[in-house]
Each structure stands twice: as structure tokens, then as C-alpha cells.
Amino acid sequence: MTRLEALPHYVESNRFEHFVNYELLGKTALRVQRWRDQWKIARRRPRPDSALNPPLRSVVHMKEIMSRHYLEGRYAAGVRKVAWVTSGAPTEPLQALGYFLVYPENHAALCGVRRKAQSIAEEAEHAGWSRDICSYARTDIGAMISGKTPAGRLPRPDVLVCCTNICQTVLHWYRVLADYFECPLVLIDTPFLYGEANDHEVAYVKRQIEDMICVAEEIAGKSLDETRFREVMTNARRGAELWLEVLNRSQQRPAPMTAFDGFIHMGPIVDMRGEAVTVAYYERLIAELDERIERGIGAIKEERYRVLWDNLPIWFKIGEFSKWLAERGVNVVASTYTFAWGELAPMIDPTQPLDSMARVYLHPILNRSTGHKLDAMKRMVDEFQLDGVILHSDRSCKPYSLGQIDQRDRLVKTLGVPALLLEADHNDPRDYSDEQGSNRLEAFIEMMEPRA
């Protein structure tokens, strides 16, 4: 049995199936679903017993966009070239070449939100992967070998693109994928920036992006169209700018959305940056946020404390946390994680695509020093007028978490803001204790009391 035969759930579609199931029936069904959701939202009565104001109306559009993306994924293999990419990979040339992009991290997060991550990760654990490796990797490896996924089906990759600007974990993980799928693995290695970027680091990343384009062109059997590439870059920049604007709207008091909303609404900028639909979606979202701001409607009814969230969300707890904290007057208004997809917007230059991509993809917060991250947090405490910081110590994510102990100490000592280290995992419920978590959060809220 070849390795691919061991993965029978990765089937190919043809153009007919793609057209009927996705273009014709699928898209229509999702549109109808959106209308029904809109109708439900319009009829929803305000709930006086809830500490949260009604959710943003735009969410139904986001649901449609993301569902459409995953639906197309089911029928993409054999119809479009498919690339599996890390969340920080330079995908714009791939998009311009017509690739369908799969973001395994986003897929793992989807499993987390749907509370399916543990059972899927256990498939990987039964196959020998340790519980000490990142739970995103475990979830996706589990999905790969078992075929279990809330997305229905993922398309088999023609190429894997792994960019180390978020962690080295992804390289180890993608080596596993390459071994299973027996397809090319393109590495974009981005030197970690302990300080400012040096020229040789930028040049190195640029050359690797150029090499990636050559590989991608060969697999796609066509050349990169410069006009289309520029168009994608323009959309990428605009999308990132708008996303940044979305997040910055929460500088308002009361904040019109929570960081938990942000975790959900970041789907398009992660999975579909560079696409016009993303730009249109964030324009719509901003309009709704502005309407809320104008009417003085906050995401939660009584915003007593404004808090920063550091690190990945705890996907399986998003809803519960948002409600639990809102009931205590806590609005988590910002997060370092969601900003990562917006803060580099000014660096994106569609007229200098390769040079600017090299710079952009070197600079995500996860590729920068612990001191830089502390400075970013301090700036956010100031700009968002925050009363406290929750640092999610994510057992799975060492690059994000190592350094948090010293960062917390400095936040407390230099800014005088209460800061809590909350032990958990972004996808594995076995690494979070409800009782201990709630006790620590209660104590944290008490520490913020004098600031209310």
C-alpha cells in the first residue's frame, strides 16, 4: 500500500462535481442559509438576562464566506491546484496563480471551536504523536490520518508551503505532511528577529519567495500574471488595513466588539487575504461597528474593565469565556494575536511586491523578540485604556508563551496593571482546569477593582 492509499478519504473531484456541488447548489444553499440567519437575527428580541449585547449582524456574512471556502475545498482537488500553507506564509503569488489554499491551523481552530479537536487529536495520539506537541498539529495530523473533520473533507495538497515566521513547530509538522502526501514541501525560512531586521535577512526571505514562485508556477503549469499578482497584493494590503481598523474601533468606550469576536472575525484575513471578498466583508463590518459606536452600543452591556488578551484564544472556551467575563463587567477589547494580521498593513507595497513581501513576512509578532512583544502590549494598554492583561500561557505554543513570565512581571511593575498568567491550551481541553481557571480569573478581576 502506498502512503497515499493509506489516506483513502482524500478523493479527487472533477469539474462537473465542482460546478454542481459547489458553484450551483452549494453557493445557493449557503445564501439561503444566510437569509434564514439574517431573518432570525432580525426577529431576535433583546435578552435582558444576558450581559452581552446581541452579536454583530455581519457574522452571518462571515459564516457564509468561510463556509463557502470550506465547501469549495471539498471539491477543489483535481479541479484547482491545492496548496496547504501555514498561517504566516506568503500566499499572494499562489493566489494569483489560482491555487486553492488550505490553512491547516485554521482548520484545527475550526475543530477547536466546534469542540471536536480533542477527539481528532486523539487519532494522532493513538498513532504515536505525543501530547506534548502543538495541539494544532495533533488535530490536523489526526484529521489527516482519520479523515475526521467538521469541514466535511479537505483537498489533498499538490504542494506544501511552510513559513517559519510563526514557529519552528510548523516545519516539523509539515515534514510529517510531506511524508504522508509525498508532495513537494517549499520552505520559507524566516530568521527570528531578536532586534531589527538586517538586509541579509530580508534578501534571504525574498530569494526564497522567488524560488517558491518558480515551484508554484511549475506545478500550476502557468506563469505568474503580474497584473493579477498586483491586484492580489492590493487586496491584501486593503484587507489588512481594514482589519486593523476593525480592531482599532475597540479603542472606543464602550468597545463595540470583544477580542473574542475578533478571534472569530479574523477568519477571512487569515484564509482569504488578497481576495476582494475579504475587503468587502471588512468594509461591511466597519460600517456596523461605526453604527454601534454612534449609538453607544458596546459588545457587553456594562463595560467596567477593559482587558488585553495575549496569545492564541482558547478556542473551545470562546463562547463561555466571553459570557462569563461579560457577566463580571469585563470586556476583553484587544488581543496581540488578532493584531498580527493587521499591524503590518503599511509595509505591504503592491508596487514592490517581492521586496515588501519579504519585509512583511519577516515581521509578524511571533517572529519578533519577547521584548518587542512586551512593547506591543504596553502600547496597547495605553491606546486601548486597559485595566488588565490576561496572558494565556498556551502549553502548545512555546514561541508565543516563553517569555510571558517576564512580560507579566514588567507589565505589573512598570505599568502597574494587573496581569494574569492563565494556564491552558488553545485546542486541548485536557489542559485547562475550569475550577482553577475561574478562581484565578476571579482573583484577577478583584485586582482590577480599584481601577473600575
Binding site: R175, F192, H200, L402, G403
Partner: protein, 332 residues
């Protein structure tokens, strides 16, 4: 700090490296003030050691970018802890392409400028030549030790004591020590094992010997993965980069799994190893990812694989020893 770094370059700048792999008998306590419980011992114990003044008169701490954990350590040391020593970093590319060679040469040039600041010494051409000659000789001596292993009348423990003395001896001292090893029939050997992982403490070799087995070869980061090929390029940075980028298969360097499997299989056959013991410090992601696929692929070639994790400095738990013992028995 582990694993790969340019030794000749340090020597040319009149600096002598002392490597920190733990140290195993240091408590985690002080390091735990900075790193969470899910951080490996190499990082936490090294931090304890540094914070409790263990580095004495050293001038600098070089943290090569080996993994996310060492990345965090280098960053925390440099950004928050202000140690007496200068904190130096080195990014090691994870590919073996032309772009990786070019990048590493520039990265080494950058490092060299900071080494001049640390040592106050700017090496001359003669210094570089002398340094490469000495370090290449030591690299050759290490490679030769591995080649002569089955003609050395010493135990595995003694063999690895010498291999690991490269972590603190000068090149000349190491060469002398390696040359002085007695040739002859090795002690009673038993079942041959290949051992893989980051680092193995001497007590493990005694235990393995007591079980009636021996180490036929290793794939340890502190061992065979640092048997570098000798290079002859005229430019010192090109030469140093070549040395680092032609090192044996190593997951921390991004070696594709298939290539790693093929190398391991060929070496195991050549050395007469009957099984692979993967011996990892807890929480070592670079190692953990490969384990199931090594088990699968090497298993298909007839080589059973056992994976055990350990905490440095602790006596090996009875359960771990029993697992190794049972593994050895199945191979006998």
C-alpha cells in the same frame, strides 16, 4: 548552547566555547522563574545555571537558533535578564539550498562583528587558517573515533565521555584524548542498539550494558549529528557555513523525514544495530514529531523502535528501565 555553532570562528577570535547541555544536576527552580513547566530541561536548567552565576568569567552566551525553546531563551536573556555576559544569537537556516548557504555566510559575518566586540580581537588571515586547521583536526578526530569504535577497548560510557569532552576541551586537548584511546577488543558487547535523541547521560550507558546490550551507533545531537565534514573554501565564512550546512541528518536542521530514515537505516545495517532507542528530554518538539514516522518506516525495514522520555539529572525511573530492558530482550 546546543547544538550547532561555528567553532573555528570562535577560536579565530580567541574565544573558547564551553557548552551547556543542561547541566543535568542543576535544579530547575531558578529557571522556572522565567519559563513555564512545559519547557525542556536543557533550557530551564541552563537558565538556572546562568542565573545562579555558574558562568563565572565567561564573556558571552551564544544561543544558536535550534528550536522554539532556545529561541525563547535567547530572547528572554537578551531582553529582560541583562546577564553579565553578552548574549549572542545565530540563526541557523533549516534548508540546504543555495540561498541557505548565502544567508548563513552573511549571518556568520554579522556574528563575527559582535565577536570582535566581545573579544576585542580582530582575527588576521593567519588566525583564521590556524583556527580552521585546529578545529578541522578535532572534527576529523571525532569522525575517526566513530570509525574506530569497534576497535577501541573501552566501554560505551568511556567512549561517550570522550565524544562529549569536545563540549569543553580545546581542539588540541580533544585530539590528544581521542588518540590516546586504547585499541583492542571492545568489552563484551551484547545486542547492538542505535540511540537517537538530543543527549544521553553516562548512567544510561551503564544500564544498557547491564541489560546485555551495547550502543552500536548513535544519532545524538551531542554525538554523531556533530560529525562535520571538513571543508577547504578560501573564504572563512563560506568555509564555516559549509561545515554547518553539511552536518549529518538532524531534525533540528529540517532534514526531511525520509532522508533521516534512509540515513538511519543504512547506518543501522552497517553497524549491526538491531533496534533504535529514541531517548528524548521531555518537551522536545523537534524530536517528538519524527518518532511515529521513524517507528513506522524503520519498523517496515525490520528495525523495532522504542521511544522513552526522561528528565535530566533524575535517576532513570524503574518503569523506563523496564521498558528498555524489555526492548533489549525482544531484540536478543
Amino acid at each position: 548552547m546546543p547544538i550547532h555553532y561555528p567553532r573555528a570562528m570562535l577560536r579565530a577570535h580567541r574565544l573558547h566555547p564551553m557548552e551547556l547541555w543542561g547541566p543535568p544536576h542543576v535544579e530547575r527552580h531558578e529557571g522556572s522563574r522565567h519559563f513555564q513547566a512545559y519547557t525542556c530541561d536543557i533550557v530551564v536548567k541552563a537558565m538556572s545555571f546562568i542565573r545562579s552565576g555558574g558562568l563565572g568569567a565567561s564573556k558571552a552566551i551564544l544561543v544558536p537558533h535550534t528550536c522554539d525553546a532556545l529561541q525563547g531563551m535567547g530572547s528572554v536573556l537578551g531582553d529582560f535578564l541583562d546577564p553579565d555576559q553578552r548574549v549572542l544569537t545565530l540563526y541557523l537556516p533549516r534548508g540546504r539550498r543555495g540561498s541557505d548557504h548565502e544567508f548563513l555566510q552573511s549571518e556568520l559575518r554579522r556574528l563575527a562583528t559582535t565577536l570582535v566586540e566581545v573579544s576585542g580581537y580582530e582575527p588576521s588571515r593567519a588566525d583564521w587558517d590556524e583556527a580552521f586547521e585546529a578545529e578541522d583536526a578535532a572534527d576529523r578526530a571525532l569522525a575517526d573515533l566513530y570509525q574506530r569504535r569497534d576497535r577501541l577497548a573501552i566501554s560505551d560510557r568511556d567512549f561517550y565521555t570522550v565524544v562529549r569532552s569536545r563540549e569543553y576541551l580545546t581542539a588540541e586537548q580533544f585530539c590528544q584524548q581521542a588518540a590516546a584511546l586504547p585499541e583492542g577488543d571492545p568489552p563484551e558487547r551484547g545486542v547492538g542498539l542505535m540511540i537517537s535523541g538530543i543527549v544521553a547521560e553516562p548512567a544510561l550507558f551503564d544500564q544498557i550494558e547491564a541489560m546485555g546490550a551495547h550502543i552500536a551507533g548513535d544519532d545524538l545531537a551531542c554525538g554523531f549529528r556533530r560529525v562535520y565534514s571538513v571543508s577547504a573554501q578560501a573564504d572563512p565564512f563560506e568555509r564555516a557555513a559549509y561545515r554547518l550546512l553539511t552536518s549529518p541528518a538532524d531534525p533540528t536542521c529540517g532534514t526531511p523525514i525520509q532522508a533521516r530514515v534512509e540515513t538511519l537505516e543504512a547506518r543501522m545495517r552497517a553497524l549491526g544495530a538491531r533496534g533504535l532507542l529514541i531517548y528524548d528530554p521531555k518537551f522536545c518538539e523537534p524530536e517528538l514529531f519524527d518518532v511515529p514516522l521513524l517507528r513506522k518506516h524503520l519498523g517496515a525495514c525490520g528495525f523495532p523502535v522504542l521511544h522513552v522520555e526522561f528528565e535530566m539529572g533524575d535517576r532513570l525511573p524503574h518503569q523506563t528501565l523496564s521498558r528498555i530492558e524489555a526492548f533489549v530482550e525482544t531484540l536478543s
